[in-house]
Amino acid sequence: MRITQGMMSNNMLTNLTKSYASLNKYMDQLNTGKKINKPSDDPFVAIKSLDYRSQLAQVEQYKSNASEVHLWMDNSDEALNSATSALQRLQDLARLAANDTNSESERKNIAEEAKQIRDDLISVANMKVNDRYIFNGTDTKNPLVETNTDVNGELTIEINENQKPVNINISENIELQANVDGGKVFGGKFFENINKLVNALEDDDQAVISESIDTIQENVDAVINERASLGARMNRLDLVENRLSNQENSAKNIMSKNENVDIEVAITNLLTQETMHRAALSAGARIMQPTLVDFLR
């Protein structure tokens, strides 16, 4: 084949352009840290990375949901804990009052403390977290317990119970009930039992006082039952949270494996390409210069 100067310079230019394109590719990879910079570089990797990204976003969101569930559960647990202590204190008071050594006035004093504890239990039942009543199902804007004091100073207690569970997604298609059904704890005869004790204390009725030690135990049992079921759900939440963390980690790992460039490989490629580029340039410079003209006199 007949080769002319023009052909050689054309070929050299084409090859240099290709060489620059490769240099550019490796530079891009190193600058961005990604194997691909546009979907067409590798459609398969690009689509997989879209998938991994949405998976990761989903897991992140479920983690944030799970911490929301945590907030509900921790607060409910705390509240039930203080309700138990309050109820136990009521039982202690009842035992103390049932004792024959106490006079009527002393029982009145005990009644005052029992009233305070009752008020405290009402505020526990109406506990708010983040401006939400946590014991009234999904009706978070209204309190569970409504109290009215009539003209005689008599306290009436009404329970507005909403039994709908607050369910929160903590994984794809997995919901967890975040709240404790307040009705099961504070509903029924809960406040009736307490009122019975308070009234008996005020009326100095020892027999009823002794009885109420047992009836208040029913209240304690109700609280403990709900706490037990809450505890079980908290355990499950911990398991799910662990799993979400693992999922997040593995999603990040696989995403990185899929789309992040291997720096060592990229740098080696770049250096190799650079060497080739230099070689091409210097060879080009040598070949381009001389023609026969240089050697004729």
Binding site: M7, N37, S40, P43, I47, R53, D139, L292
Partner: protein, 530 residues
């Protein structure tokens, strides 16, 4: 034999070698001229003396009379030209399509994950899930609505940008009358080639070879072959033209396999016509309802229109039309229109499914039901939602409390927000969009369908890119083959220069020898005995 035979022969030799020198000079001068083919003077021996005739003197044999310059010919192989042009059409087609697809890919670049559909849709999903855990929170509602606005905005922006790319492509294709764009280029090239045909037709019958005009014409034909695939035939310009003359170029439109389509773009007889009488490419665009797609490209000559068939041809014109969109029956096909159509389908069905769930829910005020979340731009009623006009209901933007987060009237119920978030991830069924069949095919979600769009675009672009590379290599190779025959080699020209110079010098020496012989006869003879 004539006394001055030798003088005459030396003079002819001097002239002829000089011609060789000049042509070498011409070659060297044009070493960097695009499309130039090196030229060669064909040296011929003069007819010997005596010629065979009745009155010829009796001599021991015929004696040579020297050299003459026969023709000046360009060195070129038309077989390579044919190959080059075929390849050129293909390379240009893929190059044009790659450019258009590349622009589309730039607009829908999902690779870096910092923005784009996937990200905004997932952000929307997150804000809805977050809202479901905090349904009482007006701020969380606001955030979810805002993410919805971003999703609609991303749809709008992408669809509008794609339309803008199409407008650019339309400009590149050209106006109806074929005066601008690629069509304008093709028509202008036809006129220029015709003008050269005309000049060549005037020169050739005189026995000359208009090499430089041939080169110009070949370069123009090369250019035309990048726009549409063509076949070139040559017809003689007249009986008195040389056998090796190229003749008049006749240009026929070829289909993608290289067969004649039956449409002749330039005929030999066209050189008698004026520019305005020549055939021209013209384009017809469909109306708005068909996205202004190319409905036909015609070749119009003296009143008769011939449809060239958009899908039949090859070259950059086809690349542009395929990217821009063309009518096939009632359907609009093409890279960008089909992507827009898919985005429209995605927007419409996503909005439908989303609105259906949203409409069934209950807002913060406990009463609002039946509101659409996504609406179609200007008029909030009934308009078909497309990627371009999708927007978030103004009612909701102004009153975030109306966002239907709940399934009952309690404030802490976020079940509807959960269902809304689910729409983004779940495989949509026919029931979701009130239709008989799943909108994106069985088991495909909104995200999944979007990934299909990106995947198709990415694969198309990748294919186009690799075709550009492959055909580019082939073209380069053919170009090299062609250059190998036609290009000027300076070394070769220098050698020729020496060759001709030496021959010139030697001829001059032979002239001197003749001069000395004659000097001897004229000045030194007849002096005997003096």
């Amino acid at each position: 034999m004539s006394t001055f035979h030798g003088l005459e022969m030396a003079k002819q030799a001097l002239f002829t070698q000089q011609m060789g020198l000049y042509t070498t000079g011409h070659n060297i001068s044009n070493v960097n001229t695009a499309g130039y083919s090196r030229q060669r003077v064909n040296f011929e021996t003069l007819s010997p003396y005596p010629s065979a005739s009745r009155n010829s003197p009796v001599m021991p044999g015929q004696i040579g009379q020297g050299v003459k310059a026969g023709t000046v010919q360009r060195i070129r192989d038309s077989f390579y030209d044919h190959q080059y042009r075929t390849q050129n059409s293909q390379t240009s087609y893929w190059q044009t399509r790659t450019d258009a697809l590349g622009r589309m890919e730039g607009l829908m670049n999902e690779a870096d994950g910092t923005d784009g559909f996937n990200k905004t849709l997932m952000d929307f999903f997150k804000s809805l899930e977050g809202l479901s855990t905090n349904p009482e929170n007006i701020g969380a509602r606001q955030a979810a609505i805002q993410q919805g606005v971003t999703v609609a905005g991303t749809f709008n922006h992408t669809a509008n940008s794609l339309e803008n790319v199409r407008k650019d492509l339309q400009t590149q294709i050209g106006k109806n009358d074929g005066t601008t764009g690629k069509l304008g280029d093709a028509n202008s090239l036809l006129r220029q080639i015709n003008a050269l045909n005309k000049q060549i037709g005037e020169v050739e019958p005189h026995g000359y070879l208009p090499n430089d005009l041939y080169d110009q014409r070949d370069r123009l034909i090369d250019e035309l072959s990048s726009i549409v695939k063509i076949n070139v035939d040559y017809v003689s310009s007249g009986d008195s033209s040389l056998k090796i003359a190229d003749g008049i170029a006749v240009i026929k439109l070829a289909d993608e396999k290289g067969k004649d389509t039956g449409i002749t773009l330039l005929e030999a007889e066209d050189r008698k016509l004026s520019d305005s009488e020549l055939g021209q490419f013209k384009v017809e665009f469909a109306d708005d309802s068909k996205q202004n797609a190319v409905s036909k490209i015609n070749f119009v000559k003296q009143g008769t229109e011939k449809d060239i068939g958009i899908t039949n041809i090859e070259g950059s014109l086809k690349g542009l039309v395929e990217a821009y969109g063309y009518l096939d029956g009632d359907d609009v096909l093409g890279d960008i229109p089909s992507t827009i159509a898919k985005l429209d389908k995605l927007a419409e069905n996503f909005a439908k499914a989303f609105n259906k769930i949203h409409g069934s829910g209950i807002g913060f005020d406990g009463i609002t039901t039946g509101l659409d979340f996504f609406t179609s731009g200007k008029d909030n009623t009934n308009g078909k939602i497309t990627a371009g006009n999708m927007t978030v209901n103004k009612e909701l933007r102004d009153h975030p409390e109306k966002l239907a987060v709940s399934t009952d009237k309690t404030a802490g119920n976020g079940d509807n927000a959960k269902a809304l978030a689910g729409i983004i991830k779940k495989s949509l069924t026919g029931a979701d969009v009130d239709s008989n069949e799943p909108p994106f095919g069985e088991g495909v979600s909104v995200l999944g369908y979007f990934q299909q769009i990106i995947s198709k675009m990415a694969v198309d672009t990748q294919e186009a890119r690799s075709n550009v590379a492959n055909y580019g290599v082939l073209q380069q190779q053919i170009q090299n083959d062609r250059l190998s025959v036609s290009a000027v080699s300076l070394d070769e020209e220098m050698t020729n220069l020496l060759k001709f110079q030496h021959a010139y010098n030697a001829s001059a020496r032979s002239l001197t020898a003749m001069d000395e012989l004659l000097d001897k006869i004229i000045n030194s003879m007849g002096l005997v005995g003096r």
